[in-house]
Amino acid sequence: MSDAEPSDATDSETDSGGVTVPDADADVELDAVSESADMVDVPLKVRDLRKTFGGITAVDNAGFEIKKGSMTGLIGPNGAGKSTTFNCITGTYTPDSGVVEFNGEDITGLEPYEVAERGLVRTFQIARELSEMTVLENMMVAPMHQRGEALWRSVFARNDVNKQEEEILERAWETLEFFDIEHLANEYAGNLSGGQRKLLEMARALLTDPDMLLLDEPFAGVNPTLEERLLEHIHELRNQGYTFLIVEHDMDLIMENCEKVIVMHQGRILTEGTPEDVRNNEDVIEAYLGGEV
C-alpha cells in the first residue's frame, strides 16, 4: 500500500499546474534565508536535546535529522516527549541542553517568532484560530515582514501598504481555494467547524512561506473524509518542496504516509527508519504496540 503513494503524488503534481499556491518567491523578502536553504540537504538537525520539568525528564538526549522535502512522522505513546521536543524546536520551551539547527543555523533557545522567521513554522495540536477575526483576516496575518506592519507606514504611507495588501489578499484567496475553504473567507473564524479550523490553520501556516512545517497532531479529532483531504494537501505540498515533520498519535496514518518514522519513548529516541523497519523493530513493538503487531 505504501507504494501507491509515489504514483499518486506524481499524479497530483502534473495536474496541479494551476494551483501552485504558496508561490514561495512571490512577494515576501526573505530570500536570503531560503536561498541558503536550498543548499542544505538536511534543514533540521536536533542533537542531544534535553528538557526537564522538576524531577521529570521529558526529553532525554533526543537527536534526529530531517531531510529536505521529506515527510517524517514523530510518534510515541503518551508522555513520550513528542510535544516537548516539538516545543523545544519551535522555541516555545528553551531546552536545558542540546542543539537545534535549522538550515545550518543554531536556533536553540530562540523566541518562537524568531524560529518562524527563519522558515520553520508550526501548527498547534488544538487548532487555534483567531476567532473574532474573519478567515481571510486570519490568513492575512501570516505573511512575514509586511510593509504595513510598521506603525508609521500603516498611518502615513497607505498607498505603499495597499499595494502589498493586494498581493497578500490574492495569495490568501488562492491558498483558501487550494484548501477548498474560500467560501468561508468572510466568516468569523470562531464559527468554523473543527475540521475547517484545521484546514485554516494549515493554510495560515503556509502563507508564512515556510521551508518546513511542523504539524502537531494535524489529524486529531478530524473525520476520515477530511483526514483524506488533509493528507492530499500535505502530499501535494510535499511535492512542491515543503518539508514536513508530523507529530501524530495515529500510528497507521504515519506508517502509511511518511517515508521516515521517528519513535520516541520515555523521552528518548527509541528508533528511527522507514515504516517497514520501525514496524518490525522489536523495541517498538514492545514499548509502543504492546506486542500487538
Partner: protein
C-alpha cells in the same frame, strides 16, 4: 459562489445578527456611522428642546451645549484611545487617569512661565517653553511612562498589566502629592509638581494659542501676527455672537470654539486609530488580542507590537489629559482618582470595544446621559419647580413620607444626583453585561485590512463586491 453575495455591504461582512434593526425613517441603521450621527443629532436636539421648554436663557443654553460637546469629545477620545489598548490589542489598562495626569502636569511644567517676580513665592515656575512644545513633551512623557509600565508587565499574563497600570496611576497621583517633588531647582529653573496645592497652569489660554498657531499661514499673507485670532475670532465671530448675547459674549464663544477644537482632535483620533486598525499593523494587534502564542508562532514579535500599541495609546491619553484639564487654570493631584479611568471604561463598554464608531458612540452616550445628563436633568427639574429648597438630610427627607408627602423625598433625591449618578452607571453597566455584553457596536466587524477584502478581480468571475 455564495461568498460573493456581499455586494451591498462594502466590506463583505454583515452576518445575520443585526437584521432586526433595519431601516427606520429612511436611515439605514445597519450602518454604524448613520447610527452615530443620528445619536449625536438626537442628543443635541434633546438638550436643546429641554432647554427651550424650561425657558433657559439663551446664554445658559449655549453654555450647556458647549459643555455637552466638550464632554462628548473628551469621553469619545478617551474611549478611542482605550479601544486601541483593549479593543484592538487586548491590553487591560486600568491606569488611564495616570497617563492623563502625566500629560497635563508635564505640559504645565514645560510651558509655565519661568519663575520670576510675577509669581508668588509659594508657587513654582516652569521652563517657559511654547505651549505646543509642552504638549508634545506631555504626550512623550505619558508614552514613556507607558513603556515603563509595559516592559515588566508584558512579559506576564494579561491581568498583570491591569494591576501594574492601576498601581501606576496611583503612584503618579501620590508622586504629584509629594512634598519632595513639589519644588526643585532644575538647571537653574525653579520648577516642580506643586504638591497638594497643585500647579497653576498660567501658560495662556490654550484656545488662543491654538488659533494663533493655526493663523501662521494667514499671518504671512496679511502681515499681522495672530490674524485669525484678532480679526476673525475676536473681530467677526465674537462680534457676531455679541448681537445675540450683548453682555460679555466671549466666554460663550470660547466654550464653543474650544469644544470645536476638541471635536477636530476627536476626528484626528478617529482617523488615526481607524488607520491603525485597518492595516497590517492593526491586524497583528487583533491577532495578539485573539491568541498571542499563535501570533508569535506566525513570526510576529508580539512584544514589540504590544509595546508600540501601548505607547501610542498612552500618548493619546496624555493628550486627552492636556486638553481636558489644561484649560481649567490649575490642576490638583486629587482630580486624578481612578474614578475617571472607570468612566472611560464604562464609555467603551457601552459603545463596544473593538469598534471605533462604537467607541465614539459610547463616549457620546456616556457623556450625554450618564455624566452630564443627570446634572442637566436636575437643572431642568429645579427650574421647572422654581428652585425649591431641598431637605438637607436623609431624615428630613424621610419624615414627611409617613404623612404621604413624597415631595421632599424627591427633592432630596434630585439634590443628591451627583452621588446617584455613580449608582446609575453601575445599574447601566450591570444591565449591559446581562443584555449586551459586547456593547452597542461590539461586533468587531471593522475590517483588519487597508483594502476592501473582496475577492481580487483577476480571479473572480461572479464578483459582486465591486461597489467601491
Amino acid at each position: 459562489m455564495s461568498e460573493t453575495d456581499s455586494g451591498d455591504e462594502p466590506k463583505g461582512y454583515g452576518q445575520s445578527e443585526e437584521e432586526d434593526q433595519s431601516v427606520l425613517f429612511g436611515i439605514d441603521f445597519r450602518n454604524d456611522k448613520y447610527m452615530l450621527l443620528t445619536l449625536l443629532v438626537g442628543v443635541f436636539a434633546l438638550y436643546l428642546i429641554g432647554g427651550v421648554v424650561i425657558g433657559l436663557p439663551f446664554r445658559g443654553l449655549m453654555n450647556q451645549l458647549g459643555q455637552l460637546s466638550f464632554w462628548i469629545a473628551v469621553f469619545a477620545m478617551s474611549a478611542l484611545a482605550l479601544n486601541l489598548h483593549w479593543g484592538y490589542t487586548g491590553l487591560f489598562n486600568i491606569g488611564i487617569v495616570g497617563f492623563m495626569a502625566t500629560g497635563v502636569y508635564i505640559t504645565g511644567v514645560l510651558s509655565k512661565p519661568v519663575f520670576g517676580s510675577g509669581t508668588s513665592a509659594a508657587e513654582v515656575g516652569g521652563f517657559g517653553l511654547p505651549l505646543l512644545v509642552g504638549i508634545v513633551g506631555g504626550m512623550a512623557a505619558a508614552a514613556i511612562l507607558g513603556l515603563i509600565a509595559a516592559l515588566p508587565a508584558l512579559r506576564l499574563r494579561a491581568d498583570y498589566l491591569a494591576i501594574v497600570t492601576i498601581a501606576l496611576s496611583e503612584i503618579v497621583r501620590f508622586s504629584l502629592l509629594s512634598d519632595t517633588l513639589s519644588s526643585a531647582d532644575v538647571a537653574g529653573y525653579k520648577v516642580g509638581l506643586g504638591g497638594g496645592d497643585g500647579v497653576i497652569l498660567d501658560y495662556g489660554d490654550p484656545l488662543e494659542v491654538f488659533v494663533r498657531t493655526a493663523s501662521v499661514p494667514f499671518d504671512l499673507v496679511f502681515g499681522q501676527s495672530g490674524w485669525l485670532w484678532e480679526e476673525v475670532y475676536l473681530g467677526v465671530l465674537v462680534e457676531a455672537v455679541g448681537s445675540a448675547i450683548p453682555n460679555n459674549p466671549k466666554p460663550v464663544v470660547d466654550n464653543f470654539a474650544y469644544a470645536f477644537v476638541l471635536l477636530l482632535v476627536l476626528g484626528g483620533f478617529y482617523v488615526l486609530i481607524t488607520r491603525i486598525g485597518s492595516s497590517p499593523f492593526g491586524r497583528v494587534l487583533k491577532a495578539v488580542r485573539e491568541d498571542e502564542d499563535v501570533t508569535n508562532a506566525l513570526g510576529k514579535n508580539t512584544n514589540v507590537f504590544k509595546i508600540k500599541s501601548f505607547m501610542v495609546g498612552c500618548a493619546l491619553m496624555g493628550l486627552i489629559g492636556i486638553l481636558w484639564f489644561g484649560t481649567q487654570g490649575s490642576v490638583t493631584p486629587n482630580t486624578f482618582r481612578p474614578r475617571i479611568t472607570f468612566y472611560v471604561w464604562i464609555a467603551l463598554i457601552i459603545g463596544g470595544s473593538g469598534s471605533n464608531t462604537g467607541s465614539v458612540m459610547g463616549g457620546a452616550i456616556f457623556a450625554a446621559f450618564l455624566f452630564q445628563g443627570p446634572r442637566y436633568f436636575k437643572n431642568i427639574v429645579e427650574t421647572v419647580l422654581g428652585n425649591p429648597e431641598a431637605p438637607s438630610s436623609f431624615g428630613q427627607a424621610m419624615a414627611p413620607l409617613s404623612g404621604g408627602d413624597i415631595f421632599p423625598m424627591l427633592l432630596y433625591t434630585l439634590d443628591s444626583i451627583r452621588q446617584l449618578q455613580l449608582f446609575l452607571m453601575g445599574v447601566v453597566l450591570i444591565w449591559l453585561m446581562h443584555r449586551r455584553p459586547d456593547g452597542l457596536l461590539g461586533h468587531r466587524k471593522e475590517s483588519a485590512s487597508s483594502i476592501p477584502l473582496t475577492r481580487p478581480t483577476k480571479k473572480a468571475a461572479t464578483d459582486g463586491g465591486e461597489d467601491q
